[in-house]
Symmetry: C2
Subunit: 164 residues, 2 copies
Amino acid sequence: MEPRWLSPEEQRTWRAYRDLSLVLEDALDQQLRHKADLSHLYYSVMVFLSEAPERRLRMTDLAEQLKIARTRLSYTVSRMEERGWVRREDALGDRRVQLAVLTDEGLTALEQAAPSHVATVRAAVFDRLTPEQARAFGEACEIILNGLTGPDRPAFPADLPWRR
Amino acid sequence: MEPRWLSPEEQRTWRAYRDLSLVLEDALDQQLRHKADLSHLYYSVMVFLSEAPERRLRMTDLAEQLKIARTRLSYTVSRMEERGWVRREDALGDRRVQLAVLTDEGLTALEQAAPSHVATVRAAVFDRLTPEQARAFGEACEIILNGLTGPDRPAFPADLPWRR
């Protein structure tokens, strides 16, 4: 059976998304490395931990929030421990469960990095779109994301990254 | 000066985009690895070369089309050469210019991988959105992308990846 190839308009949309995802990630990562000596992934780890009660999350929950594989998170947290930004703890009462904790040094690094990171996101995205365009963009992203992570997600060969 | 933090709605849009970019890239990459023993990046290299005259492009132009750094492309093409999918050539008349060429084996691998890849893109994106939503999504992606790559792009610390 001949596959349903993308129409020219779908193709154009798809390429714009694909190109954007690469260029924007590169810009954010470079900006954080330049201004704060942080990768974008380190920054995201700090953000999620800073928002959690007592600045700590189970490693499995942190991987799910970050949308990355647990092995990748484990490697990342080890590198961040060396910088003094994060430490690991055993969960109270269950030593099989590991927590990641944002240290005071980590919180300070996040607070120093946040203003210029937000300015970059604003300059790249929200200053370019009208409120209506931004709303439509967010809505489309949520629909696609929910489709990929929700109960009726397509039968992909692999499980979601944080469950592998 | 207090930074202009994102509003709750902007924050939600930004997180949806960030999460989507990670989950969708993972799904596409896993699907290609499972079905065709290819990474998503290898697949993209093959697509751009297959569309070029005589299935060949200058390495610098290919990096720009792919939106990746030239060092990363060089590494990727070396791996693809080992698989017999791509070969390098000196440009006619200018041995300082390197071309990447898609081999017959590479074209066959692309033709075998394409139907299930397109089906995944369709299931993940275009089957989920109404035509109107897809159009708005593509429009927003193009606006942000053009802002990041065009002449009035924000003063990021680093040049675009393919120019570094």
